[in-house]
């Protein structure tokens, strides 16, 4: 499988998970939130300064359908992460190293 094919397939799978499957995810509090509630410090949590944002809590403001509001947030979030992390990796990478032999493999040992 070509690298490009693998990356495209992976991104499509991620978009489907964030955009569609996420609607069916458990809505129960996560481990930390549950423990905080049980042991009695959940009420010390404060609203994040970004809690009023247009996609706060993975729900797009102004979209009435909950599946669509959540799915849209998932897709936008995935694409933003892809752009930021992918862009960062492209900037940091060593260029022109496509065919460089793997130094780890130098200790050639047969099987």
């Amino acid at each position: 499988m070509k690298t490009r094919t693998l990356v495209i397939v992976g991104v499509v799978v991620a978009l489907l998970m964030a955009g569609v499957v996420s609607f069916y995810a458990s809505a129960s509090p996560d481990g930390l939130e549950y423990v905080a509630e049980q042991t009695g410090f959940l009420d010390t949590a404060e609203d994040s300064p970004t809690a009023g944002g247009p996609m706060a809590d993975y729900s797009t403001r102004g979209v009435d359908n909950p599946a669509l509001a959540g799915g849209l947030a998932g897709v936008v979030g995935s694409l933003v992460v892809l752009a930021v992390a992918g862009g960062l990796a492209m900037v940091l990478r060593r260029r022109g190293t496509r065919d460089q032999p793997d130094s780890d493999a130098a200790g050639a040992r047969g099987r």
Partner: protein, 235 residues
């Protein structure tokens, strides 16, 4: 395990912020050694995948859920330093766009999930693959075990921080039992997802799996001469 604002006091949040800055600075420098033209796109994919998978909370018991942290997964697929960057980008986007995890708590979340989760995942993975035979088939199970261990250890690190600067006087033994207990269960989900994903990528492109390079190198280094006498193509 996204910590909201308010759980930890200001000095502790400033301290974890400093840890996060130092960790990210080191990662930005060292990730260069892990990233080349071939593997850089994988870093984007891994971060995207971790973000998407974190939206899929799975039930772990009465009224509780968990989701992938992704530290071990990222470290094994793209290398530990790049893994720190991938998880941190996810946490940054979640905090800014989705109010998932606080802003003053961003340093805490990067320290816990970005640094501790990735480091524990990678160290356990390296420990296992160092002891086990160098076989590609052992890469995914090793990653799964590393993922399993990383979750309760990260939960324990949160308890440590809470002991230093928690907002409420909670008995630490109660907190430890609850956090480690639930996150051991969540670790099973972490292990399953990590094993499945690392196994899938190793099956199609083992050369792109950072943690599989040692096993892959020892297996694939047979010199194959193409019939035409030209150099063998790269994988």
């Amino acid at each position: 395990m996204h910590v909201p604002d308010g759980f930890l006091d200001a000095p502790t949040s400033i301290a974890t912020g400093a840890v996060a800055v130092v960790g990210l600075g080191l990662a930005l420098r060292r990730a260069r050694g892990e990233l080349d033209d071939r593997t850089a796109p994988m870093a984007g994919l891994v971060a995207t995948f971790v973000f998407a998978t974190q939206m899929l909370n799975f039930p772990v018991g009465a009224g509780t859920s968990g989701h992938l942290l992704g530290g071990a997964l990222a470290a094994v697929l793209v290398g530990p330093w790049t893994g720190v960057l991938c998880v941190s980008v996810v946490l940054l986007v979640q905090a800014l766009l989705f109010a998932d995890g606080g802003i003053t708590a961003l340093g805490t979340n990067i320290t816990l999930m970005g640094v501790v989760g990735v480091a524990v995942g990678w160290l356990v993975f390296r420990g296992l693959t160092g002891v086990l035979p160098r076989r590609l088939s052992l890469v995914a199970p090793s990653a799964a075990v590393a993922a399993f261990v990383s979750v309760p250890v990260t939960a324990l690190a949160f308890v440590g921080l809470y002991g230093l600067g928690g907002a409420a006087p909670i008995p630490l033994d109660t907190l430890t039992t609850a956090m480690v207990g639930w996150h051991t269960l969540i670790g099973i989900g972490e292990a399953l997802i990590t094993g499945l994903v690392v196994g899938s990528v190793t099956a199609v492109r083992p050369d792109l799996v950072y943690g599989a390079r040692r096993a892959f190198g020892s297996r694939e280094l047979e010199i194959r001469t193409a019939p035409g006498g030209s150099q063998g193509a790269t994988a």
